[in-house]
Amino acid sequence: MTDPTPEPVVELRNGAVAIAGRPILRHIDLTVRSGEFVALMGANGSGKSTLVRALTGLWPLANGSLQLFGTPFGSFHDWRRVGFVPQRGGAASGVPASVWEVVASGRLTHRRLLRPLARADRAAIAEALDVVGLAHRSRESVSALSGGQQQRVLIARALAGDPELFFLDEPTAGVDLPNQQVLADTLATLSSRGATIVLVAHELGPMAPLIDRAVVMRDGRVAYDGPPLASEQVATAHLHEHELHEHGHHHHHAEPERHDHAPHIASPIEGDHR
């Protein structure tokens, strides 16, 4: 770490997303700096996937501005720097596709039109398959794999592109603990090489020690942005927020404390109604 404040890789200012006219995300300010490992947490329907989709340009912003790698989103074309694992049930489609082929589509950002795969592409695909432990099944049809194995195929697809910025939307949902550990080790390696990672997760599991920062969404807004939280603290994270702002950087408590100072009474809308 020679650079005290690495430059921002993702910068969303006052972002808002409306789906079919209905505001879903509002007033989101999120800056992720190069090399950071951010966990995006929050209840079902709180807007985590929507935020990731806004950051990757899949949902247009109704308001606000987005910069990726310091470039305004409209003029950003360097997609090989970005990797994405969507939140999904499977990788199958109407026609058989082999595991290798699905992972190979992760190299598209590196290939020029009408050019065959280069040796570097093949090596990257093989390495990605190796990392998720599916190298021996690469010729099988993805639809013959179990749900968790298909999820690992999607992770390999993102890895194959060798990106600097990863968005992973619940990549470990349905993946067993040993393989979560494998993914955590992979992300640790990527992270140590300087990759920036934005991970959506309900249970951090083996990823927990890697997290630099947690962002908790609540009803389409950022409710907490600070040091990592344990999963059981996420539901009450918005209560910690004020505390963090009042006392500066402050390590989280093992147990959410009961405290009754003004700020949390003053914001009844954000109060607990779930």
Binding site: L58, P86, L108, T109, L113, A144, R157
Partner: protein, 335 residues
């Protein structure tokens, strides 16, 4: 028999064979992407719209092939736009165009004072009456379709497989979607002369359905579908020419029935193949449960004992009656 060979030597027959080869390659090529998008009936929808295109050609005296191409492209783009904007889902959009296209075609043909016979040659194909100009048009259009389907395979595959991922990979998804729609429309009009507008979709979909019974990857599915499509269309043409000595046998339906016969053969073969593959796949090596032996085993397992032998780590398990037996010294273990 020599009559038959003479028949094959005639110019109209040679034109027909050329047209059959090119449609047989192009229709399944684009059909593979339609099936991948779960829009197998798109070809049918476009075919119905193209009826209106043909009728406009008959009414205005322009070449029906080219008016059909234009109207089919317009229809395909309409289907794609309706689908993308989400006002109706894909199959509702298709249905709307199905009926509009067919009704419009029949109405306009009536206005043009054409007999149903003329329209029929487009509805059911009349590959043996194809003109030199038509053959050239078919060859050029089909070559373009095949070149794009094969050349842009990685991009088209990725877009159909996962649109969101493709967009984050920087692909212009809308462009590729429209490209597929336009290529489908072009293939429909290409195949119009071979099998006719009402059976076009069969040549786009049936070879794909056949090949995917036996394949595990996209590339082999695409290649095999193109091969099967060519076999069916040329085979069907030759078969109908051969049979025409005895009865009136139309080439279009013969081609389609031959393709379906291929599917009927591939289906059980695929079931067997997949079963065999699954049976013989090595068992994973797991640091395993307790050592469980079998008391008495009346049967000696071996290389040709008749039971399926599956690799399991450093040894072989013999599979029978839901058990996995592995030799261990003098007895067998239950694995």
């Amino acid at each position: 028999m020599s009559d038959y060979l003479d028949l094959l030597g005639l110019p109209f027959m040679q034109r027909a064979i050329l047209a059959a080869v090119f449609t047989g390659l192009a229709a399944p090529a684009i059909g593979t992407y339609l099936v991948q998008r779960r829009m197998a009936l798109m070809g049918d929808g476009i075919g119905h719209v193209a009826v209106t295109g043909v009728a406009i050609g008959l009414l205005t005296g322009a070449s029906p092939t080219w008016t059909a191409v234009l109207v089919a492209i317009a229809g395909a783009i309409a289907i794609e736009v309706i689908r993308e904007r989400g006002h109706a889902n894909g199959d509702v959009a298709l249905a709307l165009l199905f009926y509009g296209g067919l009704a419009g075609g029949v109405l306009i043909t009536g206005l043009a004072n054409e007999s149903g016979g003329r329209l029929n040659t487009y509805l059911f194909g009349s590959i043996t009456t194809i003109s030199v100009d038509d053959v050239l048009a078919v060859m050029v259009l089909a070559a373009v379709v095949v070149a794009i389907c094969v050349g842009l395979a990685p991009q088209l595959f990725a877009v159909a497989q996962d649109q969101e991922f493709a967009r984050v990979a920087g692909l212009n998804v809308r462009f590729y979607n429209l490209l597929v729609a336009v290529l489908a429309a072009v293939s429909v009009t290409v195949a119009m002369r071979t099998v006719g507008l009402l059976l076009v979709s069969a040549l786009m979909v049936v070879p794909v359905a056949t090949s995917q019974q036996l394949t595990r990857s996209f590339r082999t599915t695409l290649t095999a579908a193109m091969l099967l499509g060519t076999l069916a269309s040329v085979g069907g043409l030759l078969l109908s020419a051969y049979l025409s000595a005895h009865a009136r046998v139309a080439p279009g339906p013969t081609i389609v029935l031959l393709a379906l016969a291929g599917f009927a053969l591939a289906w059980p073969a695929g079931v067997l193949l997949r079963r065999r593959r699954r049976l013989r796949q090595p068992f994973p090596v797991v640091a395993s449960a307790a050592h469980q032996t079998i008391d008495v085993h009346p049967h000696e397992h071996g290389d040709d004992c008749g039971h399926v032998a599956v690799p399991h780590g450093d040894h072989v398990d013999y599979v029978h009656d839901g058990h996995r037996h592995a030799a261990h010294g003098r007895h067998y273990d239950e694995h």
